[in-house]
Symmetry: C2
Subunit: 305 residues, 2 copies
């Protein structure tokens, strides 16, 4: 049994009001697998990098018990590279550079050892590639979580809808939920999106937390109010990774466990933004996570007789 | 012992994507006192109207056990009138008409029978008038809650800061908290605003709920996701009225009771927006409120062992 994470493993160069980085390691699969690794020790990556990608960064993943057999290293090619600059509000950003490089013709290879996949995290990528991964698994996983973004709604809506129809959980932000459904009310948006196939919809609202929808049930999770958001890059991927990692750990998929999974995902995301890139995510202890979860409990609990 | 509410009692004409109204009754004190009346039966209003204000609307307040001895009716003058149009997102609106009328020289009169005031709700008004009300009470109330808005930050910051320094709880929205403090992070904004005097700060975030800050404590309250927001007018006043009405009922002011008070205020606000103006707020039953509170509990509760 395992948790397979597909997504980008890449270089980012990030500018925020707090500073800027050179090329550092990022990518949806990097963040999501690191986050999941805090809860589950059978995390396996499917991704592609060029031979410019440092071997010690792959080792770093292995040190978190992340299996990288499905991480293709393309000789003579360069890794995906994204550069961006966050505005002062940290909620909006400009993309400065996007170099697809190895991602341009990414053909995901699923090693035989990954065929025990029970939990599948489809990190943000071309919906066509996400779909291919589902198809290349001999047995449908018990739970498929899909992250995506407005970019694919703009240029590949048909493919996107097809892939969405194949998954159990979709995670998108509030603007994307509105775009995908054509509804302003998130309640109406959720109803329409759930009718597209997924049994669960998670709407990520950044500093306002997240909403989980399924049938007529709704759960509203808070975000931890932070004095400083140092670098928001990867927060959504970290959230998704923590979410599915927690579910893989508890092993039972239901609404109540999903609620807790969202709290765990949110807790990891709150660490992620404290430093540039994956730095904070690489150095967490079990006690760090426990203490942060207790902060979430204190933050949102109330007792009405 | 009583709860005194000061604010506007007025006419509104409202346009939303769902329709439009002629002049209907509105005003901060109207919404807040109606909301408070669901929890506490000694609510007393301080406000001013013209003789164009219908007597049966005053009776309607009395029917909710709201004392209107402090509601001045100015012969030969007209009531405050506001007309506005909400945009499709219901979060932004254009003011079409503002006629101050009787409000232009409002001099609040505190009847002797109001001097037992233990809880004081300062609805949104000129900070100078809010301050006058505090000064005209012989004994400082046990709890003073103040609502205000960006308008006073733009044109009367000195008066505003003086009044803020005299109250226990300030309620503003997130944009206003940022404007008042000059800080983008709400955690930093809260720290600065609490240093201005209030022991508690409530940041209202509309569809994203509310945050309560006091010392180093934070509580994050959800908003109920709604399929339709019919008319958001008065939601903030309703929230504040429900909040202080609940606290007056329980009689003890502390962080835990404030958390519940925010849930009760949010519940009443969620009713308010279901119909135009005060319509829904006038017809609630105790069971309606109980059921809605249970929705809030289900919405945000999770159990982590």
């Amino acid at each position: 049994m395992s948790l397979v994470v597909i997504g980008t493993v890449a270089f980012d160069a990030i500018e925020t009001p707090f500073g800027k980085t050179d090329k550092i390691v990022g990518g949806a699969a990097t963040y999501a697998s690191l986050a999941a690794s805090y809860f589950y020790d059978k995390v396996k990556i499917v991704a592609v990098v060029g031979d410019d990608f440092p071997a010690f960064e792959i080792e770093e993943l292995n040190n978190h018990y992340i299996n990288t057999e499905g991480l293709q290293v393309k000789a003579g090619q360069k890794s995906f590279f994204w550069a961006g600059r966050y505005h002062n509000d940290m909620n909006s950003r400009d993309t400065l550079v996007t170099e697809l490089n190895v991602l341009a013709d990414f053909d995901p290879i699923i090693p035989e050892s990954y065929q025990d996949c029970e939990y599948l995290m489809l990190g943000n990528l071309t919906p066509q590639i996400q779909q291919t991964v589902i198809e290349r698994l001999h047995k449908r996983p018990k739970l498929i979580v899909m992250d995506t973004m407005n970019f694919w709604m703009d240029i590949a809506m048909d493919d996107l809808l097809k892939t969405i129809s194949m998954v159990d959980v979709l995670t998108i932000n509030d603007a994307e939920a509105r775009q995908l459904s054509g509804e302003y009310s998130l309640v109406k948006a959720a109803k329409k999106i759930l009718a597209m196939g997924p049994k669960y919809l998670i709407i990520k609202k950044g500093e306002h937390g997240a909403l989980l929808f399924s049938d007529d049930l709704i759960f509203s999770a808070p975000a931890l109010p932070l004095a400083d958001v140092f670098d928001p890059t990867g927060a959504g991927d970290t959230f998704a990774g923590g979410f599915i990692g927690y579910l893989a750990k508890v092993g039972t998929v239901n609404f109540n466990n999903m609620k807790n999974a969202i709290i765990y995902g949110s807790a990891l995301a709150s660490f992620c933004v404290e430093k540039f890139g994956t730095e904070r995510l690489k150095s967490l202890t079990e006690d760090d996570v426990k203490a942060r979860i207790q902060q979430f409990v204190r933050l949102s609990s109330f007792v009405i007789e």
